[in-house]
Amino acid sequence: MGVDFFIGLFLATLIVSLFTSRLYRLILWYSMNSLVLGILALLTGKALDDKAMLITGIATLLIKAVGIPYLLKNFSEKFHFVRQIQPEIKVHYAIILIPAILVFTFYLSEPITHMINGNANYVAVSISSLFLSLLLMMEHRYVAPKIIGFLSMENALFLLGITATGGMPMLVELGIFFDLLMAIVVMNLLFHKEEEHS
């Protein structure tokens, strides 16, 4: 029951972020999305008695829900990001497009869900989150929301890892975290250079 609630919340935070037109609010929704993901990892880890997943859940909360949003806000202030980020897709089209994506992905993942033990619908939610994150990247002109779209995509993949496989090996999870931090370092460098240009 708890997992059902949080997985719904995961999807909801992503959908809300698709309509957001302010950068700080978008960062906040990404943080909420990561927070829910961390709680989901903790709940699943506890249910499966999987210590590795519990550690990953804590790492998600610390790195993705707190660390990365803090860094992004910091970058935003340091490099003077544009904070008015109006999505390119108009709201009335997005209202039609988002449910269409959800229905399509549930239909698309239907043959897979029969093959996965346990919470089959969660896989469909993970795949739809992946598509919605792609939409988030596509609907914005500026770099900062595109980065959040990329980070949300990582969250969707992480959710897929939890739900479809009952957790990836610890080594892989930590590797993904490391790569994410490396991505932040590279982004920081790119923004530095952008400032030098202007």
Partner: protein
């Protein structure tokens, strides 16, 4: 111990990149040469050789790919010594380029030697992220834009690969548990996978991610644009090393997919690569500068390697892979000199070379240009003979023989379009345009000589025997 030796040159490079002493840059190619010692040792060891438990295992395939990539790395570091003579680059950016090059090298070593899908992905992601900054070393608006494009499109491609890996892992976890991440165990138990559809879906998604990274349909131009915007050694690294790491992943995944359902694998890859070569051949026909021309030709050759591999022509695919990995970086590194009088001046690009160094340069570049279109005795001539032979053999065994033979003929027509374009460009470079003096430096010439020697070594009987022994 062996793993430490393999990673040590990259670590030394990383440390040296912090030294502000100008002569320190001469240490960088030496450190890259040092990687040859552990690789030679690795060749002598009995395979498979566990480097780090079951996570990193050296077999005949990855040892070959590691050797090829390292030789390309050595060539690139040599050419980098004279980068500032051809383009405007600050000492700080140059040092930072090397810092990320070292990280790139570590990522690639991990990817190439990985016997674990997760580690393969981590290595590939590390290599992808480190190249972002290398693109940005060129301080232009175009390079800045392309660095972001690479960051975003590369992230999507790599996410697709991870998505596919998760599905493949999920399909085999019921029988293998956490070991379902290991390539060797997956291959051994491929026929027992309880949900083959799930595995195939994962494979297809991961393959699309890898193909996008290599510039296949529908992303045919993104790599060419990035390579055009960045400094020429970056393009050499992409074509000679990064694509090697991507393609070894495809080799590993497809070996398992072949056991699951060969007909599905072949059909999917055949249609995809045919579509890619169809588009790329027309893009090559319209290419107006060296970087885009070589980049698009790289996409064509990677598509051929993939096609030969799934057709059962393992030897042809690996020979073609080796030849492409040496030829393309050699050509990309030559563009530093070829474009020294302007980016879009193809006519007369092979004229105006004086002295022994100049003469040797234009002869080598001519040979590379003719070798890339598979004129004998290029290794590509032999690989295409064997590769198309393998395709015809597969067609004969198939229920759709006539359609497949038709498709192969169509493919040959497309390749002849590319052949025609390259010959026309070569003639324009050699016989048209004004003769303007161009300078060739010893280090870049040395890099080209290394690539020429490597190509010749590929034709040795001992190389053929080794490649044939890889199954």
């Amino acid at each position: 111990m062996m793993l430490t030796l393999l990673v040590l040159p990259a670590l030394l490079m990383f440390i040296v990149s912090f030294f502000k002493y100008e002569k320190a840059k001469y240490f960088l190619p030496i450190s890259s040469f040092a990687i040859l010692l552990p690789i030679i040792k690795l060749f002598m060891l009995t395979k498979p050789y566990a480097l780090l438990g079951s996570f990193l295992v050296a077999d005949k395939l990855d040892t070959y790919i590691l050797l090829v990539s390292s030789l390309v790395g050595i060539g690139v570091t040599l050419a980098l010594l004279t980068l500032d003579k051809h383009v405007k680059v600050s000492a700080k950016a140059y040092r930072r380029f090397y810092r990320f090059f070292a990280i790139f090298w570590v990522g690639l070593t991990l990817s190439i030697l990985a016997n674990h899908m997760g580690i393969y992905w981590i290595g590939l992601e590390l290599a992808t992220l480190s190249t972002v900054y290398m693109i940005k070393t060129n301080h232009t608006r175009a390079a800045h834009k392309e660095a972001w494009n690479y960051m975003i499109a590369g992230a999507i491609a790599i996410s697709l690969v991870l998505f596919g890996i998760i599905l493949m892992y999920a399909s085999a976890k019921p029988i293998l548990g956490e070991d379902a991440m290991q390539f060797d165990l997956l291959l051994l138990h491929a026929k027992e996978i309880p949900s083959p559809f799930l595995f195939e879906m994962g494979f297809a998604i991961a393959t699309v991610g890898m193909f996008v990274k290599m510039g296949f349909f529908p992303m045919n131009l993104w790599l060419a644009n990035i390579e055009r915007a960045s400094f020429y050694p970056v393009a050499a690294l992409f074509s000679g090393i990064l694509e090697s790491a991507v393609v070894i992943g495809f080799f590993r995944f497809s070996q398992i997919a072949k056991e699951v359902n060969y007909a599905h694998l072949f059909g999917f890859v055949f249609v995809y690569t045919l579509l890619t070569i169809f588009i790329v051949s027309f893009l090559i026909f319209r290419a107006k500068d060296f970087m885009r021309l070589f980049s698009l030709s790289g996409v064509e050759h990677m598509a051929l390697i993939v096609l030969f591999w799934v057709s059962g022509g393992t030897f042809a695919a690996l020979l073609h892979f080796g030849a492409h990995a040496f030829l393309k970086p050699a050509l990309f590194l030559s563009t530093g000199v070829l474009e020294s009088r302007g980016k879009y001046r193809i006519a007369g690009a092979l004229r105006g070379y004086k002295g022994k160094k100049g003469q040797l340069f234009w002869v080598l570049v001519s040979l590379f240009l003719l070798a890339i279109i598979s004129l004998p005795p290029s290794p590509m001539f032999f690989s295409e003979l064997y590769g198309f032979g393998a395709m015809i053999k597969t067609a004969k065994q198939s229920d759709y023989m006539l359609e497949m033979i038709g498709a192969i003929l169509f493919l040959l027509i497309l390749l002849s379009v590319i052949f025609y374009r390259f010959v026309a460009i070569y003639q324009s470079m050699k016989y048209e345009g004004k003769e303007e003096e161009k300078k060739v430096y010893a280090s870049e010439l040395f890099a080209l000589i290394i690539f020429a020697l490597c190509l010749a070594a590929l034709l040795l009987p001992v190389s053929f025997v080794y490649l044939r022994s890889i199954t």
